[in-house]
């Protein structure tokens, strides 16, 4: 898993500074949440695209990573995002019943619920991860989800998992 393609892409994207997003240490003053969004190719990514094309307003807090289906999102991706410095992780896919691969998002739903329980036990607040269903035609909903989630994370503050555990 360590050399997984999607994980590598994540490493690259999140570790490279994004224009418009400044961490407090970089002199940005207030805390600017950084969110990693795993968006399924067939619905949510298209929904995000639509939000962009429609020029809907939303905070520039999210790095989008396209996956073929929400069920591609291994719990490891979520953990890795947190370790790499994300303050929140969004997983978005087609509405239940609409997955391009029929049942992928039912699996996502169960896996997500279990991941959440494990993360909580490991000291990460449950509100730092979010699963949302956004279809290809729901640009507005996508903008809403990102705006809302950014506010939640802003309130939660920087993620504690970033602190390294080394001897």
């Amino acid at each position: 898993m360590a050399d997984d393609g999607a994980a590598r892409q994540l490493d690259k994207e999140i570790l490279s500074p994004k224009p418009g997003i400044q961490s407090p240490a970089e002199g940005g003053g207030d805390f600017q949440p950084r969110i990693v969004g795993f968006l399924c190719n067939w619905c949510s990514y298209a929904g995000a695209d639509l939000a962009g094309v429609t020029r809907l307003k939303m905070p520039p807090s999210m790095v989008a990573i396209r996956v073929m289906c929400s069920s591609r999102v291994d719990p490891l991706f979520v953990l890795k995002a947190f370790l790499a410095g994300a303050d929140g992780v969004l997983v978005a896919g087609c509405h239940p019943g609409d997955c391009h691969y029929q049942t992928g998002n039912y699996y996502t739903r169960r896996r997500f619920a279990l991941t959440l329980k494990v993360l909580e036990e490991l000291g990460l607040e449950a509100n730092r991860v979010r699963l949302s269903w956004v279809s290809a035609s729901e640009g507005g909903r996508f903008a809403e989800v990102v705006t809302e989630f950014t506010e939640t994370i802003r309130k939660a503050g920087p993620n504690p998992a970033k602190t390294e555990v080394f001897l």
């Binding site: 898993m1 360590a2 291994d74 719990p75 490891l76 953990l79 890795k80 947190f82 370790l83 239940p96 019943g97 049942t103 039912y106 699996y107 739903r109 169960r110 896996r111 619920a113 279990l114 991941t115 329980k117 494990v118 036990e121 490991l122 000291g123 990460l124 504690p160 998992a161 602190t163 555990v165 080394f166 001897l167």
Partner: protein
């Protein structure tokens, strides 16, 4: 020719790995014949200064069991690293943290509070805790630092090989010793056990239906498990899918589910995360299209302490390494 020098050392462990060496039975005599043991605190009276007096690299191989959780352990393993050609992480605790690694759900403060104050059999009204330095009659006594976090051996020093298991079984130990003596070792960094999942070699694997779906989770003490059926099929969580084979299916043969002591197979970075995926793929799959979000949650809620269960042996080796304390 001088016999190769061998050291055994223990860190945060239970002593079971020492037992495993003794469990070699007659084979132990062969080993003792072939090597020169220069350190083995449980059995022989060599001291740290004896090791310090040796030339760097003088020890052919050090077998170190136990995780690293104190300053003294850190110093000793660093010393052994310097003096040894090869270091083998012996047993689950050195390999992936093991049971002592569950302490990573707490930190020093919460552990001390529990152990030296809250435990019902302890009376400590003044709240006295172990100190690194104490003055007694004008003399300063010292204790090594107790770290907040338990580390795997390879998080502290370079490790050449891993012998997995709680404890490693005699056949794998003998294979490893023979390979070392004959110089027929695999690539550095290898785990000296088969790279297959436990389910692959499990005697119950044929009873596992093509498509598993479970609704109710049961804990081992709540039911008498069918000795023929795959545990998962009965709703008993078994870490076989995310665990490396090689133990001889010890727990399964005792009619207990696997708890993951061999660690994951080669390609898996995080055993617990793998288990999350494995369980999610079989939990309430039937009629999944009619299941509501709330029902999904209550399905998942049945699993008591999933982090403690899925990372029972491997929390220090996991991506997060420990719980983040609030």
């Amino acid at each position: 020719m001088a016999k190769p020098k061998v050291a055994f050392y223990w860190c945060a462990s239970c002593g079971g790995c020492e037992e495993a060496v003794v469990d070699l039975a007659e084979d132990l005599l062969k080993v003792v014949d072939a090597v020169d043991i220069v350190l083995w605190p449980v059995a022989l009276d060599f001291k740290r200064k004896d090791v310090e007096a040796m030339k760097d690299g003088a020890i052919a191989v050090s077998f170190i069991n136990g995780a690293v959780r104190t300053e003294e352990q850190e110093e000793m393993v660093k010393l052994l690293r310097k003096k040894s050609g090869l270091v083998v992480a012996f047993g689950s605790c050195a390999h992936i943290g093991g049971i002592p690694g569950l302490a990573n759900f707490w930190d020093r403060e919460t552990i001390f509070e529990r152990v030296y104050k809250d435990v019902p059999s302890v009376r400590n009204p003044e709240g006295i805790y172990p100190q690194q330095k104490t003055k007694v009659d004008g003399v300063e006594l010292t204790l090594p630092e107790f770290y907040d976090t338990v580390y795997t051996l390879d998080q502290v020093i370079n490790v050449d090989y891993y012998l997995p298991g709680c404890a490693p079984p005699p056949d794998l130990i003998m294979n490893a010793v023979t390979a070392i003596l004959e110089g027929k070792l695999p690539d550095k960094g290898s785990v000296l056990a088969p790279d297959k999942s436990l389910c692959d070699t499990c005697p119950r694997k044929d009873s596992k239906p093509e498509k598993l779906s479970i609704k109710a989770i049961r804990r081992p003490h709540e039911v008498i498990a069918d000795p023929e059926k795959c545990f998962l099929e009965e709703g008993i969580i078994c870490l076989g899918p995310a665990t490396r084979s090689g133990c001889g299916e010890r727990c399964i043969n005792a009619n207990m589910p696997c708890r993951g002591c061999f660690g994951p197979t080669k390609g898996v970075r995080d055993q617990g995360a793998k288990m999350v995926s494995a369980i999610a793929s079989i939990l309430g799959v039937e009629d999944e299209d009619k299941v509501t979000e709330e029902e999904v949650e209550s399905l998942v809620k049945q699993i008591d302490d999933p982090a403690g269960l899925f990372y029972m042996y491997s929390l220090p080796a996991s991506m997060l390494r420990r719980k983040r304390m609030g």
